[in-house]
Amino acid sequence: MDKNRQKLLKQLSALDFMAVDLNLYLDTHPYDRDALLRYNSIVMQANALRSYYERMYGPLYSFRSTSDYPWRWINNPWPWEYEFNFKLAGEE
């Protein structure tokens, strides 16, 4: 189960990273239509994946995500913990 969470988290992190990077690029290139299309498409893919992740493993956003009972936001692990994260080092 945790393996699956980490796999989803890895996919989501990859999409979100592309969105962060394109966001900064678009800040100084607001008329780059291709980059904007790419950005919109990545954000939509990430949103779909994020909803799925949240249904399975609980809220990702403070005060923007809904929660099952009981309040799941407080659930461990938190992002700074070893158990939370997926492994990237040594992978190519």
Binding site: S13, T28, S62, F63, P79, W80, Y82, K87
Partner: protein, 195 residues
């Protein structure tokens, strides 16, 4: 406002604690060229930026730096995890432990607590953007020295990610500077009224 997202921008999964490395890496948490200084600098300077592109760039890079602060804090915490008192005494971390146990505190590698004197917010967008470009280069160099000090791939990978982001930020600030300079030239617009 800010919304917290319960994940890291880049994963930190360090199997082998290393208190020496924690003492070095903490400099990117609270040191002169660290992520706290970076976020505070850009998020403060954005109020006096003059073009939409420059405002957005300062706002969004300042925000990303907060995510980097969290990555560095996570690295420090995991590097100190389960470290015994003997290991702390053997490493350089004894003085830090005396003041903070294994808590994460904004301090430089040399032990200086964080200070706002690390940053400027000058009211002149050209001046500020030059500072920002220099700051990104200083952070990039620091990550390179930290990579030189590290030998564990679990530590090196996130450092390489953070280093690469400094290069991108430098590029974006350079573009924002050019946009600001073009605007100031074309509009005969003065940030400060000439006497």
């Amino acid at each position: 406002m800010w919304i917290y997202e319960k994940k890291l921008e880049y994963p930190v999964k360090i199997k082998n604690p290393n208190p020496k490395m924690a003492k070095y890496i903490i400099t990117q948490y609270g040191g002169p060229d660290g992520e706290l200084a970076a976020s505070l600098r850009y998020l403060s300077q954005r109020f006096s930026m003059v073009t939409p592109q420059a405002r957005a760039t300062l706002n969004d890079i300042g925000t990303e730096e907060l995510a980097h602060l969290e990555i560095v804090g996570s690295m420090v915490r995991q590097l100190m995890d389960d470290v015994s008192i003997e290991e702390i005494k053997e490493s350089d971390l004894g003085a830090y432990y005396a003041d903070h146990d294994k808590a994460v505190y904004p301090i430089s590698a040399a032990g200086n607590p964080f200070t706002a004197a690390y940053i400027q917010s000058k009211g002149d967008p050209v001046t500020d953007l030059y500072e920002d470009m220099a700051a990104e280069q200083k952070a990039r160099s620091t990550y390179e020295w930290l990579i030189n000090l590290a030998d564990d791939p679990d530590v090196i990978e996130p450092l390489k990610f953070l280093r690469a982001r400094e290069v991108v930020h430098f590029q974006r600030f350079g573009e924002a500077l050019r946009i600001v300079q073009d605007k100031l030239a074309e509009k005969k617009f003065y940030v400060k009224k000439p006497e």
